[in-house]
């Protein structure tokens, strides 16, 4: 067993952290308050190669494995304080993964280079108003035959939705109650007739990330837009969600490490009762827990990344990692605010934003309760 990163991975990490600190943290607080998407920073990330990490070289990407990609995303969210932007990037990578795994050669040629250069933005459209955790009970329907389908229904909370040029939509293609063979996956371009979206949703956190409702009113979809095989949506979803949980976990770990670093610096400089506040075990214990969770989170993250790189399934590991790291991040943000006292509660400290951002991590990509259900199921309970 080898726990070390290669020299290239170490250098990559350093250069991404340096890039993120230098280029991406300029107006994070203002952007959070205004709620707009930082398009210029998105472009900088694309130029840095962050959108093309998982894209094969023949489509203009870096063709990295998941271990390297996770390491890069950790570095990005460690250096970049705009978690909304990082989430948008992770969403783009998830879409790239799905198109790369299941797309036809024509689909890959059309979309992968553009998505990897940031010229096109993608979204995954799965959740519906009545199908959240029970997502495979979705009602958005795709009807017709191979000559042409019509897509009808509505989706909600879709990240990157308001900006998306291309949308990966999951819809029910059969009449049965099971998800088996009854769900298909399609690509829909923003210009498709019958497609529309709601206004960007106002959120508690991750405000630079853009989310919206989507409406499909008999959108015509040709066979060339089917992603994977007809009726294979459930398998595509299952595979995609493992990648998504790994990528999100990497991003959450970077933030956790940043919050930890900030807390350590503060307890070493802030003095009360004539001594550094970190000398009080009630605070240093909180920091110890953050460090413990960071290290344990890395172990499970890189195990799942390694499994995926071996072409193996990582359903259990993905749920363990997603659950543990998202909950650890939320606790770490709360503890960090406590450690910073009144200053921690002020916007200028930025920790309140990290906390607001972190709450969503325990909801998207499957809530913490659902991760616990999956873990129990995987253990045969």
């Amino acid at each position: 067993m080898d726990f070390s990163f290669t020299d290239t991975q170490v250098l990559q990490r350093e250069s991404i952290v340096e890039f993120a600190r230098r280029e991406l943290n300029d107006k994070v607080r203002e952007n959070d308050q205004a709620g707009g998407f930082p398009l210029e920073n998105w472009r900088k990330c694309a130029d840095m190669g962050l959108l093309s990490l998982l894209t094969p070289e023949i489509y203009g990407g870096l063709g990295e494995d998941l271990v390297t990609t996770a390491n890069s995303l950790e570095a990005l969210s460690y250096g970049c304080e705009d978690s909304g932007l990082v989430h948008a990037i992770v969403t783009q990578l998830c879409c790239i993964v799905l198109i790369n795994l299941y797309g036809s050669p024509a689909q890959k040629e059309r979309y992968l280079p553009e998505l990897s250069s940031g010229g096109m933005i993608a979204a995954q459209s799965i959740t519906e108003p009545d199908a959240g955790s029970d997502v495979l009970s979705m009602r958005t329907r795709i009807e017709g035959d191979g000559a042409g389908w019509l897509l009808s229904g509505g989706k909600v909370f879709i990240s990157n939705g308001p900006l998306a040029d291309i949308i990966i939509v999951f819809a029910r293609c059969g009449a049965g109650k099971s998800a088996f063979g009854e769900i298909s996956c399609f690509l829909v371009e923003k210009t498709a007739a019958g497609y529309s979206m709601g206004k960007p949703l106002q959120k508690m956190g991750l405000r630079t990330l853009q989310n919206c409702e989507m409406f499909f009113d008999s959108v015509g979809v040709g066979e060339e837009m089917l992603l994977g095989k007809n009726g294979h949506g459930m398998f595509i979803f299952n595979e995609g969600i493992e990648w998504e949980r790994a990528l999100m976990t990497a991003a959450h770990l970077g933030t956790l490490e940043r919050v930890l670093g900030k807390s350590i610096s503060y307890v070493k400089t802030r003095k009360q009762f004539g001594k550094e506040i970190g000398k009080n075990q009630s605070l240093s214990n909180k920091i110890g827990t953050m460090k413990l969770n960071l290290e344990l989170g890395k172990l499970i993250l890189y195990k799942m990344a390694w499994l995926k790189d071996q072409g193996k399934r990582a359903t259990l590991e993905a749920s363990l990692g997603k659950l543990f790291v998202s909950e650890s991040l939320k606790s770490a943000c709360l503890d960090a605010i406590q450690i910073h006292g009144g200053y921690g509660y002020m916007q200028e400290c930025d920790l309140e934003r990290d906390l607001r951002d972190s709450v969503a991590a325990t909801i998207y990509s499957g809530t913490s309760e659902m991760q616990r259900n999956i873990i129990a199921r995987m253990l045969g309970i």
């Binding site: 299941y102 495979l136 109650k177 099971s178 998800a179 088996f180 063979g181 994977g228 095989k229 009726g231 294979h232 459930m234 398998f235 979803f237 299952n238 399934r313 359903t315 999956i374 199921r377 995987m378 045969g380």
Partner: protein, 85 residues
């Protein structure tokens, strides 16, 4: 036969979780009876790959291959034959 018993035991204890009270027949529909759901299929694939030394590919993921114990068994036999096991 022994393979069958192992598979049936796994389906009854790990997947059906109380949904099968009597005997599980070789032709019983695992999907209609909701024994096999979206998470169950992931568990089943892992079980097959770990216990029968087969690799289930995307091509194998069809409804027909997983509707019953019989169809799962014949998938395993076909995979093994193809792998030369």
């Amino acid at each position: 036969m022994q393979d069958d018993a192992k598979l049936i035991e796994f389906i009854k204890t790990d997947l059906a979780r109380g949904k099968v009270t009597g005997k599980l027949g070789a032709n019983d529909d695992l999907i209609e009876t909701e024994i096999l759901d979206s998470l169950g299929i992931m568990k089943l694939i892992l079980f097959l790959e770990n216990n029968y030394a087969v690799k289930i590919s995307d091509e194998d993921l069809t409804l027909e291959n997983f509707t019953s114990i019989m169809s799962i068994n014949s998938l395993i036999q076909r995979k093994r034959a193809a792998q030369g096991a």
